[in-house]
């Protein structure tokens, strides 16, 4: 399978995401100014500071030409994974519920955190076990997930929270310790921690690889 990893000006973690994808498939970088997704099977919107995070995190990237194609791809059911700034961009684009607010400490924090897999029967978590703990680093200033009460209840009720910070592990103040949510259809998923930085035992854990493997499993199964 082939992943497409977006690159906006100011994106920082796209090469890391590409390397992670290449452990389970092929991956190409997609330039923000191009509308052509080059026929990829899944899209990764990586971390960083797209357009300098000016105006508001993710607010400018959402209007990039490539995002028009990503939004169309998502509406057609294509798998889209947003990591950190990518999660923020997907929320701004209306592809994911809720919004990311500044951390409760108002500071950037870089820390290895434990996440709990809430649902393992999805495009993004099928290589995990339900209830499994994943050790994955998080690093951000604006990662406090928030949704109005009604929306939050709805997101919880429909099982859209796929990853939660393990008790005591959240540093950002996210509502109900939400670390990652999917859309209602289940093909778009965003999380603040960085699975692409947890794919090599030499540089930390390999737990993040399970998310990329899950997408590859799903695409492979869909093809058969």
């Amino acid at each position: 399978m082939r992943f497409g990893v977006l690159r906006f000006p100011g994106t920082c973690d796209e090469v890391d995401a590409q390397l992670a994808c290449e452990r389970v498939g092929e991956a190409v970088i997609l330039w923000h100014g191009d509308r052509d997704l080059q026929g990829v099977d899944a899209v990764v919107v990586p971390g960083g500071f797209s357009y300098g995070d000016y105006l508001r995190v993710g607010a400018i990237a959402r209007f990039a030409p490539v995002m028009e194609s990503v939004i169309a791809f998502a509406r057609e059911g294509g798998p889209v994974l947003g990591i950190c700034n990518g999660f923020q961009v997907l929320c701004e684009a209306g592809l994911l519920p809720g919004a990311l607010l500044p951390n409760k400490t108002l500071r950037f924090v870089c820390r290895q955190v434990d996440l709990v897999v809430e649902h393992a029967d999805t495009i993004f978590t099928n290589a995990c076990e339900q209830g499994e703990r994943l050790s994955i680093p998080a690093k951000h200033t604006t990662g406090c997930w928030y949704a109005p009460r009604e929306l939050h209840e709805q997101v919880e009720a429909s099982g859209q929270v796929l990853l939660r910070y393990a008790p005591g592990e959240s540093f950002n103040g996210s509502l109900a310790d939400v670390a990652g949510v999917r859309n209602e259809a289940g093909n778009v998923f965003g999380l603040m921690p960085h699975p692409e930085h947890a794919v090599d035992p030499l540089t930390g854990s390999t737990d993040g690889l399970k998310l990329f493997q899950s997408i590859a499993n799903h695409v492979g199964a869909a093809r058969v």
């Binding site: 890391d16 924090v109 540089t203």
Partner: protein, 742 residues
Amino acid sequence: MSDTATAQPPHRALGLTDAEYGLIVEKLGREPNAVELSMFSLMWSEHCAYKHSKKLLRQLPTEGPYLLMGPGENAGAVDVGGGLAIAFKVESHNHPSAVEPFQGAATGVGGILRDVFAVGARPIAVLDSLRFGELDSARSRYLLEHAVGGIGHYGNSIGVPTIGGELYFEAPYEQNCLVNAMALGIARHERLTRSAATGPGNALILFGALTGRDGIGGASVLASAELGEGDADKRPTVQIGDPFAEKKLMECSLELLDRELLVSLQDLGAAGLTSSSSEMASKGGLGLDIHVDRVPLREPGMEPFEIMVSESQERMLCVVEPERVDEVLAVCAKWETTATAIGEVTDSGRLRVLSGGDVVGDMPVEALVDDCPLYDLAPEKPSAPIYPAPSPSLESTDDDPAALLPALLASANVADRRPVFEQYDCLVQSRTVRRPDDADAAVLLLPESDGARPAIAVSIDGSGRRVACDPYRGTIEAVLECAANLACVGAEPLGLTNCLNFGNPEKPHIAWQLSESVRGMADACRALDVPVVGGNVSLYNEGPEGPIYPTPVVGMVGRLPDAARAGRLGFSVAGDAIAFAGPFKPSLPGSELAKLRGEPLPDGLPEIDVAAVRKAQETIRDAVRRGELRSAHDVAEGGLAVALAECCLGGGHGARVDFRGAGSGGERLLETLFGEGPGGFVLSGSRPALAALARAIRLTFVGEVVDPGEDLVLTLDGDAALSWPLAELRVARARGLADALG
């Protein structure tokens, strides 16, 4: 500006002496005009011309088997094998940070990153070395918080990990903090790019941010004079950083080099267009014509001299063959980076500044770059102590080691650095094998080659207080400390960069500190066979209350063949043996404990057997490389007891350690537990592996690692023992900086 300042001749207001001005007139054959005078004043400033340090620096060894690019380029570079080079350099941004810490520190990071990608290397890591006054001062806490914020803001936003650093708090830095930033980059050998302008007729292209009035005179006004009253007025001389602009500039520069479109490349730092253009012309032995009216401006009505000396950030200058100009402009447009041909290379040997067709400045390049007079220092060892004794923070009667260990762990210079380094992204780019808490040095993966996964290690160090006690031996200690950190992860040193932060060199006692320190650095480098690849000098670090501690900061880069065997510092397996190794001779004067007790600095540090320390480092490094040690940690601030506590906390295991023979109380016990000096290591591993090392170096078995949840227990003479629950030590160590950072 005061009346007296406006009344003096312009050259003096710009920091030039009457004799220097006379020499400029002689070189030009006439009086300089305002444009020329402002350019000379910058190029002949201490910051650009190194006029008080250049002669001394010639002592430093700059040759080595791994050296690819030595001092003189934007950054030095060493060979790390596999056809790859690591370029690196450390630079100061002290005075801007003292005036405006967030922007000062941020642009310090931006500047050093540009130095690294100017030589064609992709930046892969940042480290920082920070010095502030004591944490009980509100100003110090403010400077700390904002300098750390600025470093994080810039480094995090640009996607370069901040993987290490060091941080000390001492009263002499109260008015004049130090912010030194080091960057490393990676490149294939053939991609290393020099800055010499070549090929008359080639175009000179300025690209990056617009040129504004910020930072005008920064190098001469801020960097080459003492800080004093009314420094808030100097805020306009501090530059403002934009990491997003730099990120685009970096990617753009690297793409231009990938496509082989450039003849040479240079960043714009201190003294802006003036120094970058004259340095390029000087290295190429050619001339340049610069049309200042073509420079894209951020604000209208800027004078030619303002354009030539502006220190606006995030700008680069390159030389391009005329037929490649369009391609260069297209790449810049792709990265949304403004690029303009502003001049051309000439064979005149002169730097000419043109505006609207008129020549508004015309100077021999050689006069600007090479003819600044170099001064001999008049060093004289001070007859009385320069620095007052530190204010005591412990009761002098409080000699109970059971209380001293937690007190030391909670002290600002020893406490857990987590509240600082957690504000930095240490992971981006997927190379970080050892994060800040894991080991004595940061370890970064190199690309896989022939199935092997080699790595580099890097450390930055320099305790000003030790250098204040003894500039010669204190500086040797700083070099040895860096090398020890590398040894503990299994890395062989390849090269070092330094930043010499000192007071006013025109004063005999500062000249003595500087001379002795450089002599110590030269001797230490020769003893370890490590060349200096480049560096920076920051002088005039004085406030109204006196000079800073002399602070030579050393950044050292090494290589290890197998990243999987990179050493760790923590005790991690119960039952492992613990040994002290190396020619360590602890002494209390000048130590962290002596500081907490308010004892005056000693006049001199004990003699160092550098050859024995090197032997210990090499033996430990080789053992780490063979995968024979579970942990290795060098003894630094706070001595053996603090090192043991760090090993316990780092690996989450307790330890039982035998200190019998060191007495059950009194100064001798304190000296053994908390005394400092170079050459000491705490190791853990299997008994046979450690015993094998004892054949080569001094090594004493002292105890064993025990289970998590058990205490750190030190056995003393006469059945006495000291014991601390790890939780108590962890809380003490966490408190020091967390309290200050809120």
